[in-house]
Symmetry: C2
Subunit: 282 residues, 2 copies
């Protein structure tokens, strides 16, 4: 329980009045961490330092695991003082920075913020000709043929992202069939030191008229798999080999990870699970 | 090119002297974006506002795509002024915040910061008995049997993360064999609105004596796959079914995505690629 029971008042009354006893309004979460999400911090540096310092002492006495501050961008003057008192950035996006510090003497158990971007490539096979849809993009000063695709949006499923990116770049409507491969890279250009996982999704066509995005894409065409396996782009070549093998042997029987729904034992909500189809009782 | 050619001086001389012409020291990156990475900003709010504002005007005139500020945590007093002038957080970690804004009239092309945590579970089969290694953990107020595993570190490969987590939690040394499935979830608890991809790695044993981490793990044991497929945990059950199927039909022939190395067409560096083995000429 918060020691400070007058939350609505705190942002109105001068902090100075409380300076001997004031603990920042906060909540205790299920990890026994103190979370402070106030919108209006005082302007006075000294008052901020006193309040934050008093709060930290209290939380340490109460054996809280960690302290977290959500600080609106307009109130970033609080941040250097928080840093002096041991806080560091956990993450920030748009108009909020999140700072934290571990309060126990043990090693911090706080997981790092997200480490990966997730990209999707669409391996779209034409339903009648079995040709593969590829686009030409400029990368640096080279022009490269590749699978259409891009980054998934926040909270977007892999399958949905692949269908969306293929449509945006090529004008082709498609249906998700499976995942046929994925790669992981670290410290990619423009990735701010983070990593990237790129999933190659096998998609079947719902329409076949190309209308590509001339802002992002130099060219777009259907290509025979026998030609794609000779392309200079190693991952395009490799994807085309999987597809050729799948055409011959049956996709599900040979190259696919299929999508199914599995419930979480903790929340009960289902999630997307990708694996080999085994035709056994699940 | 930066208009301001005296970079080393800027942090020594009073900014005021330059206030009519001063552009922040910056670099132009390959996306034609202006990047500012100075360590010492002036204290005076008015000078910061003037300098930043003059720089933005210059960059807009020069048709720069975007502006980026790397701001040390001690200098966060710059942030509210940057926000007034159109900047927002792109990301922050430890002692640096990164702010940016799109400068063209077109839609921003700046990718969002990393969206996913990557978790790994080890499906370790005992080399002699074909039993599966499982651990008991407390989640909320329940005790659940599951595969050993956890989050990968920044820049850690999936295979390495699985081997490390299995060893830390159970004391078992193992070897990476394949990936047999993965799931994606969004907005997981403690994930700050981000998503999670969890890869189930098939591992073979190098040692078989359990010595589990009593801080994190309640119990650890080998279990028959025929029993694991009846466990209450749906994803443990599902993984065990794949493994039973693989034992019968050959892992590579049935359930595995195997690891290979593919070179990037852009950088020439190889990356980890996971796909079905097809025994064809690559």
């Amino acid at each position: 329980m918060s020691l400070f029971a007058f939350r609505p008042l705190l942002n109105i009354l001068p902090y100075r009045l409380f300076s001997q006893v004031c603990i920042l309004p906060h909540e205790i979460d299920r990890f026994n961490a103190a979370r402070v999400r106030i919108q209006d911090w005082p302007n006075d540096t000294k008052i901020i330092r006193e309040t934050l310092s008093t709060s930290l002492n209290q939380w340490r006495n109460d054996k809280r695991t960690s302290a977290w501050l959500w600080i609106p961008i307009e109130q970033a003057h609080v941040i250097p003082i928080a840093a002096e008192l041991g806080f560091a950035y956990h993450n920030a996006e748009e108009r909020t920075a999140v700072l934290n510090q571990w309060l126990l003497t043990t090693k911090s158990m706080i997981p790092r913020f997200a480490t990966h971007q997730v990209g999707v490539g669409g391996a779209v096979l034409h339903n009648k000709t079995n040709e593969l849809l590829i686009i030409k993009e400029r990368i640096g000063n080279r022009e490269i043929w590749k699978l259409p695709g891009g980054s998934t949006d926040l909270s977007e499923n892999i399958a949905d992202g692949a269908i969306r990116e293929v449509f945006e770049e090529t004008g082709i409507h498609s249906k998700f069939e499976s995942i046929i491969g994925f790669r992981q890279i670290h410290r990619y250009p423009g990735g701010h030191g983070r990593s990237d996982i790129y999933f190659i999704c096998r998609l079947s066509t719902l329409t076949d008229t190309i209308d590509f995005d001339r802002n992002e894409v130099l060219d777009c065409k259907w290509i025979k798999l026998e030609d794609a396996i000779k392309d200079e782009n190693p991952i395009l070549r490799r994807a085309a080999k999987q597809l050729l093998f799948g055409l011959k042997n049956g996709f599900e029987q040979s190259i696919d990870f299929k999508l199914e729904q599995i419930p979480s034992i903790v929340t009960g909500f289902t999630f997307d699970f990708f694996t080999r189809p085994i035709n056994s009782n699940k």
